[in-house]
């Protein structure tokens, strides 16, 4: 391409991003100053994204690297209806990349007249995009093939139809819909997006069964004491009104506003005519579970506070026991049998209890977290320990539960149980032993390790030593409680 000759570039009508990008590549690599180019657009907008420059330009273009902000700016500005948009954009790119004295960061100089103008154009397009996202209204049509189908008519100011498509695809993925505008149309069949020719208002359905309900809702949200027409028009310019079903209600609302306000103020305060629901008010305070069985029903019916099993493993044992044991969370076997402490750790726990001379049948056994937490990997469940937040979420239930059970002594097995009882995350070793849970009605308690910790120790020697210490702890628990 001759760098001194004047260039005439014709792009497609509408937002010809592809065509402009190609032209940009060829022109910048050929070092054509912006003054030497005359930009024009073909009369008929080509909405099928042809965007081919005449072959005469050759394939001199190579991709050019522009700052991301500039790329974003170009994408927006090409949607503008202003005929000069391509010339202005090229001028920006040229000034940033010209061989002598390039203004590399020109796009950051918001006060430069060119940058300012482009920013304003981008702003106008952005606003139009936003208005299309929010002011477009679908109307349902019954399609014999797909059933429910939604069609909308909208009149955007700029060539934004394609640019806006992703928003509607993301939001209404599971619906069949069509958006018709005078600048092109979009068709979505739940799988693929098609871009179609301009349409007319008469192509869209006249109304929708839900519009009356919507208008009623719109009317009811209006507060007549706060009429502020300017603010309404500023956010919802009149040009959009004719395609919005709710705006038909505006004149009526405005006309009646003043009299509605007067009426509200002038009306004498009336005496209550209904009876006071004294019984119901008294009953207000008597909420929440009244017994352990009722609490357990609530827990069983609730969704888990973590990702894992839906089955709640409840506490087990008599009310008013000498000792209540609190573990961490159920494991796989517990989840299967819906009983606490029946897995490998539970068996070890049983053995230790027996050696310490504690009858499990006479103790209450429960977990801080009522659901087993795991991540499913194919067929396998990978167990997860509960996070601090999850322990806190289950804490309310544990508090209520032990409130009903009323044990003489509460034993926290492991750090999670100690956290749930004490209200904050702790390390076991420094506080192992007798303890008072101040956050739990000053409940006398005892902190020791969780039996599953013993199972996880690698060496036989450690396991033996720790097991003995655990049994020792249980013996002291027995002495304290019985």
């Amino acid at each position: 391409m001759d760098p001194t000759a004047h260039q005439y570039i014709e792009l497609n009508g509408g937002a010809d991003l592809q065509g402009f990008r190609q032209a940009l590549r060829i022109l910048t690599w050929s070092n054509i100053p912006h003054e030497q180019i005359t930009w024009s657009v073909s009369a008929a907008p080509d909405l099928f994204g042809g965007g081919q420059l005449p072959a005469a330009y050759g394939s001199a273009g190579r991709p050019i690297i522009l700052p991301r902000d500039v790329g974003d700016l170009i994408k927006l500005v090409v949607c503008h209806t202003e005929p000069q948009k391509y010339a202005l954009l090229y001028e920006l790119v040229w000034r940033m990349r010209r061989p002598h004295d390039p203004e590399l960061r020109l796009y950051e100089v918001a006060s430069d007249p060119l940058v300012h103008r482009l920013n304003m154009m981008a702003k106008s397009v952005r606003r139009d995009l936003h208005k299309m996202h929010v002011f477009l209204r679908f109307r349902e049509v019954n399609d014999l093939v797909v059933g429910e189908r939604f069609v909308a008519w909208f009149e955007p100011e700029h060539f934004i139809v394609e640019e806006t498509a992703q928003f509607f695809v993301d939001r209404f993925t599971s619906l069949d819909w069509t958006i018709l505008t005078p600048k092109g149309s979009l068709w979505w069949d739940r799988i693929e997006l098609a871009i179609g020719p301009p349409a007319q208002r008469s192509d869209a359905p006249e109304t929708d069964a839900f519009e009356i309900g919507w208008r009623t809702y719109y009317q009811s949200t209006f507060n007549p004491a706060r009429t502020n027409l300017n603010q309404m028009r500023q956010h919802m310019p009149k040009k959009y009104w004719r395609n919005l079903p709710e705006t038909q209600a505006i004149p009526g609302l405005v006309n009646a506003a003043a009299s509605r306000v007067d009426e509200m103020i002038e009306r004498e305060t009336m005496m209550p005519i209904r009876k006071m629901p004294a019984k119901a008010i008294a009953a207000l305070t008597e909420q929440g579970p009244a017994s352990l069985a009722e609490l357990n029903r609530i827990i069983s019916a609730s969704d888990p506070f973590l990702e894992g099993s839906n089955k709640a493993v409840l506490g087990e044992g008599p009310l008013h026991p000498a000792i209540a044991f609190v573990g961490e969370q159920p494991g796989d076997l517990e989840d299967l049998q819906v009983r606490p402490f029946v897995g490998p750790a539970g068996q070890l726990f049983d053995r230790a209890l027996e050696e310490a001379g504690i009858d499990r049948q006479k103790a209450y056994v429960t977990n801080a977290v009522k659901h087993v937490k795991f991540v499913q990997r194919g067929k396998r469940r990978i167990p997860q320990s509960p996070t601090a937040g999850e322990i806190e979420r289950y804490r309310w239930w544990l508090q209520k539960e032990l409130g009903f059970v009323q044990p003489k002594l509460v034993v926290a097995l492991g750090a999670s149980a100690a956290h749930a009882l004490g209200g904050k995350a702790v390390t076991i070793s420094p506080i192992r032993g007798q303890h008072r849970f101040d956050g739990f009605n000053h409940q006398p308690g005892y902190i020791t390790v969780h039996p599953s910790y013993l199972l996880r120790l690698p060496s036989e020697e450690d396991r033996d030593r720790e097991y003995k210490a655990f049994v020792q702890d249980l013996k002291r628990v027995r002495a304290l409680a019985l």
Partner: protein, 405 residues
């Protein structure tokens, strides 16, 4: 339908209670069978003639209520006609409105029926059905009932994008006088429970933990129903921001309700008061102003109604001006009346490459009139302007001329 929704307008929960601009879980999107998305952009679907935005289907499950809050149309001693939605009604209506692009999501609240727990369970059920049965990925805001059992609040957070508890009145005494069944202790307890959980959930995002109210929690206070002044309001808000990680506080101007209680003032406060409080709140959260500084701009703990709080502060602190936009640090720029955060960001970037003139500043902000007396640029220095006694008169909006017939 008016029977239900008509009331909610008078509940004084402003329609501007919109989803926040930035959600922690940004750009959520439904699966191929589901419906909806949240994308963190502006979401107002329509505007009513009061200039407020309609963004969510904001309804009450029922307008029957056992509480007797003086400011509320639905209090038990009111003579309003009562009505009730079923859970399925709300789910169906939300989906139908959402599919037609009428709304951005659901904002559900309810009068207290039977017990707070019972009411809260119904609210949760709506959210759960929307998410689980309808695959709804749009925005859900649940009004939390502070007197409900804590585990219900935990559950609400698993289904809703945002939870809120209305503080309604900024002091404990006012609450006692106007809302006898409400108790500020249970309100703050529930707020702190939600605040803790939201914070934990942000930290635990990668640890297979379920998300709790990804859009956080907000609250609302009524302006002008009790005697609290603006400084008191702002101090209460500052306390909420600091203690419960809450954002934002909505200021809702008291306005007359039909069938009102005798305990209330008959007239509404000037509309401007709530606007000034919003502006002040903004200064507090994004501009580095302290509550005392903002309050010092007005008189006797009330903000100036004629001019915005930033200008009011600047006029009383003229020794801090003019500020050179080409050299001053960000904190100093944030104090200039008429310059917003975005304009300041642009100035800071642009001045790396060029020395800004007055005209250039005009390119990045909304208008020079207010800014001019407070800045120095490459070609401008206000000589006596900053200290003029009538500066306030010049900058305050002119009173509207009354027309004579």
């Amino acid at each position: 339908m008016r029977a239900y929704t008509g009331r909610s307008a008078y509940l004084r929960t402003p329609q501007s209670m919109m989803p926040p601009a930035r959600q922690r879980r940004k750009n959520r999107q439904a699966g191929p069978k589901g419906l909806g998305s949240t994308d963190g952009n502006g979401i107002c679907r329509a505007y009513t003639p009061d200039g407020r935005c309609v963004s969510l289907l904001k309804i009450l499950l029922t307008n029957f209520c056992l509480y007797d809050c003086a400011y509320c149309i639905n209090r038990r001693s009111s003579n309003v006609e009562h009505a009730r939605f079923t859970v399925d009604d709300v789910v169906k209506l939300t989906i139908a409105f959402y599919k037609r692009n009428y709304i951005e999501g659901l904002f559900l609240s309810s009068g207290i029926i039977q017990t707070p727990d019972c009411t809260m369970e119904q609210l949760i059920l709506v959210a759960k059905k929307l998410r689980r049965d309808e695959g709804f990925a749009g925005y859900i805001h649940l009004k939390t009932i502070p007197e409900a059992s804590p585990w219900l609040i935990e559950q609400a957070g698993l289904w809703a994008d945002r939870l809120s508890i209305n503080l309604e009145l900024p002091t404990q005494d006012s609450l006692k006088a106007y809302a006898p069944e409400k108790d500020s202790v249970s309100i703050t307890n529930a707020m702190s429970q939600m605040g803790e959980r939201i914070a934990e959930s942000t930290e635990e995002i990668s640890r297979h933990a379920l998300k709790f109210a990804p859009a956080g929690q907000s609250t609302q206070v009524i302006v002008g129903a009790d005697a609290t002044n603006d400084a008191g309001m702002l101090a209460a808000s500052a306390g909420l921001y600091a203690s419960y990680g809450l954002s934002p506080v909505h200021y809702s101007a008291f306005s007359p309700i039909p069938d009102s209680s005798k305990a209330l003032p008959i007239k509404s406060p000037p509309l401007q008061r709530a606007n000034r409080l919003y502006q002040a709140d903004w200064l507090f959260r994004y501009y580095g102003f302290g509550v005392e500084e903002i309050a010092s701009g007005g008189e006797g703990g009330m903000l100036d109604l004629d001019i915005d709080p930033k200008l009011a502060w600047a006029l009383k602190n003229r020794d801090r001006f003019p500020v050179d936009v080409n050299t001053a640090d960000r904190e100093a720029l944030l104090r200039i009346p008429g310059l917003g955060v975005r304009a300041i960001d642009r100035i800071i970037i642009a001045r790396r490459h060029t020395s800004l003139r007055l005209e250039d500043v005009g390119c990045v902000c909304a208008g020079l009139k207010r800014v001019r007396p407070f800045i120095i640029t490459a070609d401008w220095r206000p000589t006596a302007e900053t200290d003029r006694a009538d500066l306030r008169q010049q900058l305050a909006p002119q009173p509207k001329q009354l027309s004579l017939f």
